[in-house]
Every structure is written in C-alpha cells, then in structure tokens.
C-alpha cells in the first residue's frame, strides 16, 4: 500500500507534455496533429538539436504507441533538467510542478528565463512527466513550489546563461568575462559582435558545464521579471476554451466510466443488480472494483463502475444500478454526536505540543479568566473540476493523464495497485481545475488504470459532483477549547489551548486515535504570542471518513479559533483588538521554537528553525501595515457593518487581515472590503501572490460562512452546490487591498497562508457588526434576525 512520503499530517515536501508559447496567440503552435512520419521528416530537417514541439497541448498524442519511437529518435539538447534549447533558439522550460491556479507555470519559467537572459517570446513551457528522481519533488502542496525551488530555478537559468556566454567567448576567441548574455543573445560589446542563443547551441553542447564559481545569480537590480510583473502564460487557452484539464483528455477508442462507491467509509458491496444499467444505450460493461481495506490511503474506495461510450450514458447507467451496501465500521458516524464528543475531548487534558511556564498556577492566580469553545465542521475542497483521469493500460504498461498535484505519488500508487514496475507507469499532468489538496490523492487515477486494464481500452473515469462531495478526503472536523488568564492590566499571562480533530494519519495507518502533538505546529503551537505560560494540547478524535489535506490544513481551524479568541480577550480586557493583538505579539524577538517549548520533532513546515525562525517583528509589521492601510483607527462603522482583524503565521509566511463585513437583516454576510498585509519573504510573482490572497480570503469566506459536510448513519448528507454552500459573486469583496512587504528574504508560502487569518478576521468583523459571537461554523443562518437580539 502506498504511503505518503511526507509528514502524515502536513503535506510538506523536500526538495504530459504541455508546451505553451509565451506570446498571446491561440495555441496553434502547441498543437501538432501532423502524422508521425511527417513529424519525423520535419525533425530530420531541423537536425537533432532542433525544435521540439512534438506534443499536442497536453501530450495526448504521445500516447499512441508509435510515438514512442518518435521520442527516442530525437536528442534535444537539455543543458539543464529544467531547460531545453533548440538551435532555432526556442527555449523549452519544463514545469515540474502542477498548475492549479497558483500560476507556477508562469512563475517558474519566468525565474529561469530571467536568470538565463532568455527572450521571453522564444520561451515555451512543457509540463514535465511525473519523475521525481529527475526533477526533485513534484508534490505540489504545502505552498512549496517557490520556497523550496527558488534557488534551484535561479541556478538553472544562471548556469545556462554562463554556458552560452562561454560558448560565444570560445567562438570569438575572447575571454568569457568580456561577453554578456542579454535577451536571447550573447554580445561582445568591444567588437560589436552578437549571436542569438540558438546559433550558439552547436558550440555550447560540446563544452563542459560551467564551474559553480562561474554561475552567478543576478543581483536584484539586474532582474527583468522576477519580483515584477509577468502575464500568465495560459490566459489565451483559458479564455478561449482550449485549455486542457483532466476531464478533457481523450484517446481513440476511449470509454468513459462513472463509479458507484460505498456511501460509508469502509462499506462494501453486498449485491448488485445491473440489469437496468446494462440496458442504457451506450453502456457496455459493469465492473466491480474491489474495496480497498481500511484505511485505504491513496487507493480506490472500490464499488461498481459503469463503463460506457460516453459520459451521459455512464451517468445514466450508474444511476440505474441497484446496489445493496453493507455499512461497515463507520456506519454509525453522526456529526451531531461527533461534535459533542469533540467538545468532551477538549474538556480533558490531552497530549502537549508546547509547554512554557506553569499554566495551572498562572491561571489560578489570574485576575480574570476567559474561556471559549469553537467548532468547525468537515469541509470539502469542491474544486470546480471534479476529479477525472484517463488511463491506457496495455502490454504491462500504464500511461495516465490526470489533474494530479503529485504525479509521482500517482505513479507509485498505480504501480503498486496494478503490480507494475514503476518504470512502466507514465503520468502526464494536465491542468488542474482547482486542487486545494484533493488532487494530492491519486485514488481516482488508480480507478482509471484498473478499469482500463479490465476493459482492454483507454478509460476515462469521471467523478460527478455528488461523488466529489460524498467520497472525498475531507478537511478534518475540529473542536477547540481556549482558556486564558489576564492580570489586572489586561495582559495575558497564561494560555491553555486544546483541540481535537481526526488525523490525516488515520487515512494512512490503522488504529490512529487522534492527531499527534507535532500537528499543532500547523498554526497552533507556533503562535507568535509573548505569553510566559503556555500549554497547547491535542486531544483524541477517531476518524470515521477519509481525512485529507485541504488548503492550509489544520491552520484553517487553528486560525479561526485563535483569531476569534484573541478578539474575545481584547474585549474582555477592554482594549482595541488591533492594539491588543500587537501587545500579544509583544516585543520584537527571533525565536527558535524548537528550543522554546515545542515538543519534538518541532516541525516548521519542512524548513529548519535556523532558516525560518519565528520573527515577531515580521508579525508586528504586517499587523501594523494592515491596520494603517485599512483605516482601522478611522471612523467607526454603523451598526450592521464592522471590521475584524486577525494575524496568522503559517507555511513560513506572516499574514494580517482586516476584513470589513456588512450583515444584512436576514443574516447574510457580505464582505465589501478587505486589507491584507503579507510578509512572505521574497515574492517572485507579485500579481499571482495578490491573486492567491484574494482567493484565500474568498475560500475562507466559504469555510466560515456557508460550507459544511455532515454525516448521519455514516453517510455524507451534502451532495452538490445546492446544499454545500460556497461563496458567490454577490457576497464577494469589491476591494481586496493586498500589501506585499518588499523583501529579499527566504521565501515563504503564498497559496495557503492567506486562509487562516481570514477565518478569525471574518468572525471578528461579524461580532463588531452585530454583537453576535459565532463560535460554531458555518455561520449559516445563525445571524438571522440579529437586529432584534
């Protein structure tokens, strides 16, 4: 069984051919429908070092067996694992990270091209196959793409630049120090000579790679695109309908499968009556997929697949199945009872993740004690593209196309599932129609592979939205209890925080009875507050459904509970919430939390505490910035409108938010305006960083205001957007004012750190607007009639 190659709780990571032209033209250049023979002739003409734009937009045409020979015939010159350079000057940059909206297919190439001094119009992006030995981690989660790879990308570009300069110097018989690469050519200013990159390929490929000492990373003033602006490369396909996602992949002779999966986690098929399903025109086969033993990890849930000639027939056929299910060990899962059990759990001491001072003693001597409990339900990613994957399994080989966040996990899991050698499994990564952690898990890829082998033809598995919500890997439901002691001045002297939530580890190992204390480093035990007595504990909670990573992971509910509680304490102390937050952060200090009470292994989002200590000055500055830019100290808002503030450090970045809400008489919450201040170290692509903050805020609105997955008799009660509410246009912000702190510091994450502070800030703004403190999410209808309270 495949297990994740990372911390079980947090998707931290260690360090299909898509070719997309940079210029704003429709994708004609990327589509090559010419038959194989023609392409071979073209390649002969170009020579082995020549242009290689062989694949279609997402490499589908490479699937055809005859194309394999085509691939091996050419020897494109790849001076670096991420870079190919043709003698026509075309620079192909291999994006090894999955694109799911964060913009990595633009940001990664622009860093490399900038360092390389390439001409952007000559650059192409090709999506790398799943091959971690070659590319390093491809596991696109944990907000790691830039923070783990910025230096590698810069070095890749700088190495190729140095090599091309060396080649030009050799051709001209001058010292390398006299020549300089600039925008796709190397120049010798003294003699006025210049040569395009493509014309240097023949010489460059015969030369040794430049010594490390010769590879120089640009100084900030020399950068052309990094840290500045670059329009995203996929905008034309995305606005013309030609961008290809997992569900868009096709192959000749392909079948479409829709699967009925156990409604209860661990349930099994007892009986199937497929007689009506088989009568649906277009339905060809009904195939049992074996249930994977619990906990199942990345493997399919099992069930009954309807294989048809088109998607509609498969859906209709699936709907016509009559299946008798057994419930299994989780058939009693009930969300109301479970909520009560979480509250009971946090009222009893748990396992400590961080201890400083003497909390019981400090609480006993406090002038004032404040206690609050919070609850956050399961959440589903509900990414707009329900998962889908295309597989072609034949002759002991599997070739797959999938919107996966982790192609290597997909590859390994399929290999194990079908008992194939990993070398015989190829995973092409399509664009992802949203990921948010759901697409880290390759269960759906295994389903397609299994069915393709059974059917003997290419099969695309399509999940419906109902499947997506009912059979997901949900974000953990969580209960929290916080207690603080304040002295006579309103200063917090003690902090006791207990939380309980089913562990992601329970999806991967049996007999897991709750989260581990180290999971608290995801935004609970690593808080920046200057409180002498702290104890942060985690309490037992058994999983009754698949739990998985969801954008920001446990920092979502940690952020909501802590952000809310700080606001509650401010009111208890009679202080301004912003000022109070600043006083809690306290004096500027740089802390290695592994030496400040965190239990081992004292994780720091996969980074060392030396590289990324807790730097409270950075926390203070973003809070001050958000307050200043939002008009926090300005005129107070009328009843029904309010501002809330919260701060959270997660994924090594520091984010403060001031959210302004308007609560309508019927309890509807709108968020007209939000100010975000971010210190994420060096930010390679500021516009995409801003877009991630906009998106994080809006996703947090869904998390707080409308979304929940609940269970009765073991089965999910929500099935589509009719009952799984998400933020829509009407409630969405009109202004999201994002301020990025300029920095050359080590980069932190961008995709996730915006979500945790937003949760608390929204709840606090609701309190400011209405006087109603919402401690159980979602807000839902809780504010109806608030004016009359």
């Amino acid at each position: 069984m495949s297990t994740p190659t990372r911390l079980p709780w947090l998707s931290s990571s260690q360090p299909a051919a898509t070719t997309t032209p940079m210029a704003d033209h429709p994708t004609a250049e990327t589509e090559t429908s010419a038959p194989r023979t023609h392409r071979r002739e073209v390649l002969k003409l170009l020579g082995t070092g020549g242009l290689l734009i062989a694949a279609s937009a997402l490499g589908v045409r490479r699937l055809a067996a005859q194309d394999t020979a085509f691939d091996t015939l050419i020897e494109p010159w790849a001076p670096h694992v991420f870079v190919r350079l043709g003698d026509d000057g075309i620079v192909t940059i291999f994006c090894h990270r999955s694109e799911m909206g964060q913009g990595i297919r633009t940001t990664m190439p622009m860093i490399i091209a900038d360092e390389m001094e390439a001409d952007w119009a000559m650059c192409r992006v090709e999506q790398a196959l799943g091959d971690e030995p070659k590319y390093g981690s491809q596991n696109t989660d944990g907000s790691t793409s830039i923070r783990d790879f910025l230096t590698k990308y810069r070095e890749a570009g700088a190495t190729v630049r140095a090599l091309l300069e060396d080649a030009a110097a050799k051709e001209w018989g001058v010292a390398a120090a006299e020549v300089q690469a600039r925008n796709g050519e190397v120049m010798h200013t003294a003699s006025g000579r210049s040569k395009r990159f493509g014309a240097l390929v023949a010489t460059a490929r015969t030369m040794p790679m430049p010594a490390t000492s010769r590879v120089r990373i640009k100084s900030p003033g020399e950068r052309r695109w990094e840290g500045k602006a670059m329009r995203s490369i996929d905008l034309v396909p995305m606005t013309t309908g030609t961008a290809k996602y997992g569900a868009d992949m096709t192959l000749p002779g392909m079948k479409v499968a829709v699967i009925s999966r156990p409604p209860v986690w661990g349930g099994t098929v007892v009986r199937v009556d497929d007689s009506l399903a088989l009568k649906v025109p277009g339905v060809e086969r009904v195939i049992r997929i074996p249930e994977s033993p619990l906990p199942g990890a990345f493997l399919p849930l099992g069930g009954v697949a309807v294989v048809a000639t088109n998607t509609w027939a498969a859906i209709k056929g699936r709907d016509a199945l009559k299946i008798t299910w057994s419930g299994g060990p989780n058939a009693a899962y009930d969300s109301a009872a479970y909520k009560a059990s979480l509250y009971a759990a946090v009222r009893t001491p748990g396992k400590a993740g961080r201890t400083t001072g003497d909390v019981p003693k400090a609480l006993a001597s406090a002038t004032k004690r404040v206690t609050a409990e919070y609850y956050m339900p399961h959440l589903a990613h509900a990414q707009m593209e329900p998962v889908a994957a295309l597989a072609h399994v034949a002759n002991g080989k599997a070739e797959l196309w999938a919107p996966t966040q982790s192609p290597m996990d997909a590859r390994k899991t399929v290999a194990e599932y079908l008992k194939l050698d990993v070398a015989n499994v190829t995973v092409h990564v399509t664009l992802l129609g949203g990921g948010f952690g759901r697409k880290s898990k390759p269960d759906f890829v295994c389903e397609a592979a299994f069915l393709s082998r059974e059917v003997g033809a290419p099969v695309r598995v399509q999940w419906t939205r109902e499947d997506d919500l009912r059979n997901s890997y949900l974000h953990a439901v969580a209960g929290h209890r916080l207690e603080a002691g304040l002295d006579a001045n309103g200063t917090v002297t003690s902090w006791l925080h207990r939380s309980a939530y089913p562990a992601i580890g329970a999806t991967f190992a049996p007999n897991v009875t709750g989260a581990e204390p180290d999971e608290l480093t995801n935004g609970a035990s690593d808080i920046p507050f200057d409180i002498p007595n702290m104890r942060i504990e985690v309490c037992p909670a058994v999983a009754h459904t698949r739990i998985g990573w969801f954008r920001s992971v446990n920092a979502i509910h940690h952020g909501f509970a802590i952000g809310s509680f700080v606001d509650e304490l401010a009111h208890a102390a009679g202080k301004d919430s912003g000022d109070f937050l600043l006083s809690l952060i306290g004096r500027d200090r740089v802390v290695d939390l592994s030496k400040a009470g965190l239990v081992a292994p004292a994780s720091n989002y996969g980074a060392t505490w030396t590289d990324h200590p807790l730097d409270t000055a950075r926390a203070r500055r973003v809070v001050e910035l958000a307050m200043a830019k939002s008009g926090w100290r300005g005129a107070s808002l009328p009843r029904g409108k309010g501002r809330g503030i919260a701060f959270h450090r997660s994924f090594l970045s520091y984010v403060a938010m001031v959210v302004e809400v308007e609560v309508l008489p019927d309890g509807t919450v709108l968020v007209p305006r939000t100010t975000v201040a971010v210190d994420a170290g060096f930010i390679a692509n500021p516009d995409r960083a801003k877009a991630q903050m906009e998106g994080a805020l809006i996703m947090a609105m869904s998390n707080v205001l409308t979304s929940q997955m609940t269970f009765a008799e073991g089965k999910a009660l929500q099935s589509n957007f009719r009952d799984y509410g998400v933020t829509r246009m009407r409630a969405a912000p009109h202004v999201v004012d994002v301020h990025l702190v300029p920095s050359e510091g080590l980069p932190g994450g961008i995709g996730e750190p915006g979500v945790p502070p937003a949760g608390g800030a929204i709840a606090n703004a609701i309190f400011a607007a209405t006087g109603v403190r919402v401690r159980e999410l979602p807000v839902g209808q809780q504010l109806a009639g608030w004016q009359k309270r």
Binding site: A247, S260, P263, P281, F721, R728, M729
Partner: protein, 176 residues
C-alpha cells in the same frame, strides 16, 4: 442493515430505465456556425453532446444541476446551462460555445480577462465569460448590482470574483 439505493442516495425508480425511450429522431442544430446532427439518446444534455460528441471541451462540467454555471453556453443568443438543455429540445437551435464566442478569441471580455489576469485555475472561466457576454449584450453599462445579479449563479472556487467584476466593467467600456 443493508439497503437499496443508487449512487446519489435516491430510491431507484422502477421506470428509471432508458430502453423504452421515445423513437430517435435526428436533431439538427447549429453549433458555432456549423450544422450538426444528432440521433442519439434524446435526453442527453447539450453539455455531453458538446464535450463527448463534438470535442468542444471548453464547456465544463461542474455540477450537472445548474448550480455552478461552468457549462454556460448561448442557446439562440441567450446564456443557458448546457447541463439542463436536453438534445430533444434543441432541434433548430443555434448554440454558441466559448470556442465560438469570437473567431480569434478577442471578444472584449476575453481581452479584458487577459488584461486583468482574471483566471487562476481557469476551469470556470468559459462559463463566466459566456454569462458575462449575455449580460453585456443587453446592458453595456452594468453596475455592481447588475453584475452580481447576472453572475451569482456561477461558482469560482479560486475566488476570482473581484477580478471578474472589474473585467466585465472594462469590457463594457470597450463596447460603448
């Protein structure tokens, strides 16, 4: 206790079979200016005809129940959810998809979307653009209220709503 249900948790209706569907008649319609014929299951939604039969995959499946707007196309000039339009209702209809919105992909909305770098994952954007095109066809001076009303049926989980609003206004300005 074992129980009987289909995948959506609904009771399986005895008449839920399709083998007694009405006799097939050829449906003729125009899609992006091309004449298309269809003689398959008349209950098939336009969405799957476009995606599976015509390979026009710019129209996306997101929910299947008219809740997310990802499948929005124009039917006879007005925005419609392709997941809700059965093929049997479309004989003689004129359908425009995102691929046919503008011959070179330069409808003012498409240009504005790119100028403001609206998409993140991009998956919902075809539907958003088609809906917005319907709005601008009848109102070239849309305010926030008009935009919110027209676009509220669409979901973007990446949260591109503020930029969509701005892009619609920018495109409207171009059209005036």
């Amino acid at each position: 206790m074992p129980e009987v249900q289909n995948a959506d948790g609904r009771a399986v209706a005895p008449s839920a079979d399709a083998h007694d569907a009405p006799p097939v008649e050829t449906i003729s319609l125009s899609v992006n200016g091309q004449r298309r014929r269809y003689d398959g299951d008349p209950t098939m939604p336009l969405l799957w005809f476009l995606r599976d039969e015509l390979s026009l995959t710019g129209t996306k499946y997101g929910c299947g129940i008219s809740q997310c707007g990802a499948c929005t196309v124009h039917v006879n000039g007005a925005p419609a959810r392709a997941c809700q339009r059965r093929m049997e209702t479309l004989n003689g209809a004129t359908v425009t998809t995102i691929e046919g919105l503008h011959p070179t992909g330069e409808h003012p909305l498409q240009v504005a979307w790119r100028d403001l770098d609206v998409p993140q994952c991009g998956f919902c954007q075809s539907g958003q653009i088609m809906q917005a095109a319907g709005l601008l066809a009848r109102n070239t001076t849309p305010g926030d209220t008009d935009i919110d009303a027209a676009m509220n049926g669409h979901i973007c989980r990446c949260g591109t709503y503020p930029r969509i609003r701005a892009a619609i206004k920018a495109a409207a300005e171009q059209l005036r």
